[in-house]
Amino acid sequence: MVQAVNDGLKSIMREDDSVLVLGEDVGPKGGVFLATEGLTSEFGEDRCFDTPLSEDGIIGVGVGLAMNGMKPVCEIQFQDFIFPAFDQIVSEAAKMRYRSGGQYTVPMVIRTPYGGGIRGGLYHSQSGEAYFAHTAGLKVVVPSTPYDAKGLLISSILDPDPVIFLEPKALYRAFREDIPEGMYTVDLSTTRDVLPGDDAVIFCYGAMVPVATEAARRIKESRNKDARVVDLRTLMPLDEDAVLQAARDCGRIVIVQEAPRFCGYGSELSAMIAEHAVEYLEAPIKRVTGFDTPFPNTLENYYLPDARRVTDAVEEVLDF
């Protein structure tokens, strides 16, 4: 997936010279995960440049670049380090169009690796999507495949509004997939059915997509039941119609997120389904999530939802 991100950046930078990449170590080194490898050598230092170690500066400067005709792609090295820039994201980028009546806008993408699975402990593992999905004016996108990573990234860069682009670092080198060369897009605010089925539905995104998919395979094997797996892909604005249709089709619902449970993204999804499709439900909605603790290091495999926990949850909703 990390190569798909790199390819996406190169493809759009070749087409549109207002696209700039900035962040810590994104230049000659190519980023700590090599997502920006080769950009400085191909496009020069004024298109892809290293910044001081200052997240507030990266995003604040990005907002200014975006307001004056550029399409900045800012990298925050780990999502855990984004909080010094929270003010610039939440108070500035998200609200600029609104508070200026459209006079000033921020077509900016903030790319950042998120989530666990690499033994990163407290500060290289967190999943902060709920903070951003809660903020009006931001779009929140989470790919789970190389194909989607490239297509959604290009769509995000072309989007007129600020996008938080969360890259599941656990999937950066998890599997290979052939993807088209050059420019292509995947529409924001669309979901993807990973597996068909109407006995139950698992809603998931990012690094939980392969986990949910594996659980659905096990259920098929053990119970001969078909659990639909829906990759949400864009968390805000969500394709609510697609989510509600899947909920109505299946009636038994499991939501998987690696972020903590309380006020997590799954809470909103659960409330939305309860409000709009309760008459279709055959069982209580079940959430499989990280725990309401900081993210542990040595014991991270017990913190993160895995296929066994998701399989158990699907069995519970099937047996209700």
């Binding site: 700039l20 004024d46 910044t51 001081p52 200052s54 507030d56 500066g57 995003i59 604040g60 400067v61 990005g62 907002v63 200014g64 670049l65 975006a66 307001m67 004056n68 005709g69 550029m70 900045p72 010094p84 003010d87 610039q88 108070s91 500035e92 600029m96 169009r97 609104y98 508070r99 200026s100 009546g101 459209g102 006079q103 000033y104 806008t105 009006a136 004016g137 779009k139 007129p160 509004d161 605010s189 604005p237 969500l238 609510e240 119609d241």
Partner: protein, 386 residues
């Protein structure tokens, strides 16, 4: 070798305690005045008087309950107008804080447009979404939307300026902020990025003595604020912020440096906030009344008037007429803005994104249905104002 454009910065070196002054508080010329035509000087004077009149009218509107809030600008007029006069608005942008009414006023933003923001009415460029004094203008000058969180505009100014440089434009970005904002993350990251990339930015710190109730000595242990540039490799200069010609000269030099590719400058304009932080603040709790008396004696408008009349650039009667006209102008602008309707209810939901997404359509439909069925959110003709 001394560069010809940088002379004033060599003479005004880091940590200097004496601020550059051209006109002393009595109006006497004590420094070398910039060569400005009479019309330009009068335009500056008129803008200062109009700024005071706008400020005074807003204070009265708040005291009589017609608007919710304002921030006093009395005493700051020379800093705002001196800086504004140095800009070329065909290329330059401003990333302002909220206490700089003089900049849009000098550059021809209509007083009624500013009053529209004070009332948050249908013509407010911020569409009634912000508190008063949070202006946003994109003509005749690029005057970026003002935020309440402090210092956030500073790194944005650097980004705006970096984009100008990349597009080979000659523009610069002026960013203004108060003394308190020098403690924010935005100040430090903005200064640092500007230094590293040599961005064409002018940082104007309006040292008005107070961050709400907190005096300068509780804000910083450094000797003034100009010295803070040094750590970022940015020259810092101090100027008498109540001397409009000195501010004009220093900001002009900084702009010339930025345009010539010589990088950013930090300017500290020493002035005094002749009132509270805002209409919600009572400065008598923390400002010694003697301080107001002392600074009244350094009034930027009286000083410039004395200078202009003694130099034969303006007659006393002309000065009196400017004041009367300005007060009448602001009264009329307030009346006009007050008479306009509020924005329609759907504007709660627009401009969140470029296109209104389905969930906001649904919430908008709900709000309109809910309130219009009760006769609320409708105009005086009984129509829903969409």
């Amino acid at each position: 070798m001394v560069s010809p454009v940088a002379w004033s910065f060599d003479s005004l070196s880091f940590g200097m305690s004496e601020a550059l002054q051209i006109i002393d508080p009595s109006g006497k010329k004590v420094g070398s005045a910039p060569r400005l035509k009479k019309e330009a000087l009068l335009a500056m004077y008129r803008a200062m008087v109009r700024t005071r009149a706008f400020d005074d009218r807003c204070m009265k509107l708040q005291r009589t309950g017609k608007i919710g809030f304002s921030v006093p600008n009395k005493g700051i007029e020379a800093t705002s107008v001196g800086a504004a006069a140095a800009l070329d608005i065909t290329t330059d942008w401003v990333a302002p804080h909220y206490r700089d009414f003089g900049i849009p006023i000098f550059h021809g933003v209509q007083s009624v447009e500013m009053m529209d923001n004070m009332f948050g009415n249908v013509d407010d460029s911020a569409v009634g979404r912000q508190m008063p004094v949070h202006f946003s203008f994109d003509r005749p000058l690029k005057y970026l939307s003002i935020s309440s969180p402090l210092g956030t505009q500073i790194p944005q100014a650097v980004g705006v300026a970096m984009a100008m440089k990349r597009q080979k434009e000659l523009g610069i970005c002026l960013t203004t902020f108060g003394d308190g904002s020098t403690n924010t993350l935005g100040f430090h990251s903005g200064m640092n990025f500007a230094g590293v990339y040599g961005a064409p930015v002018v940082f104007l710190c309006q040292n008005n003595g107070w961050a709400i109730s907190c005096p300068v000595e509780k804000q910083t242990a450094s000797e003034g604020f100009a010295v803070k540039g040094e750590a970022y490799g940015i020259p810092g200069v101090t100027v008498d912020g109540n001397d409009v010609l000195a501010v004009y000269r220093v900001v002009s030099e900084a702009i010339k440096r930025a345009r010539a590719g010589e990088g950013p400058t930090l300017i500290e304009a020493v002035t005094f906030r002749m009132g509270g932080h805002s209409t919600s603040d009572d400065p008598s709790k923390y400002v010694d009344p003697q301080e107001f008396v002392e600074w009244e004696g350094r009034c930027p408008i009286r000083r410039f008037r004395a200078y202009l009349t003694s130099e034969g650039k303006m007659a006393e009667e002309e000065a009196d007429a400017i004041k009367v006209e300005a007060e009448a102008e602001m009264m009329a602008a307030a009346k006009e803005a007050e008479a306009k309707p509020v924005p329609s209810l759907d504007t709660i939901f627009t401009d969140v994104y470029a296109e209104v997404p389905p969930h906001l359509h649904a919430q908008s439909d709900f709000a309109i249905g809910h309130y219009s069925s009760r006769g609320e959110g409708v105009n005086e003709k009984g129509e829903f104002p969409l």
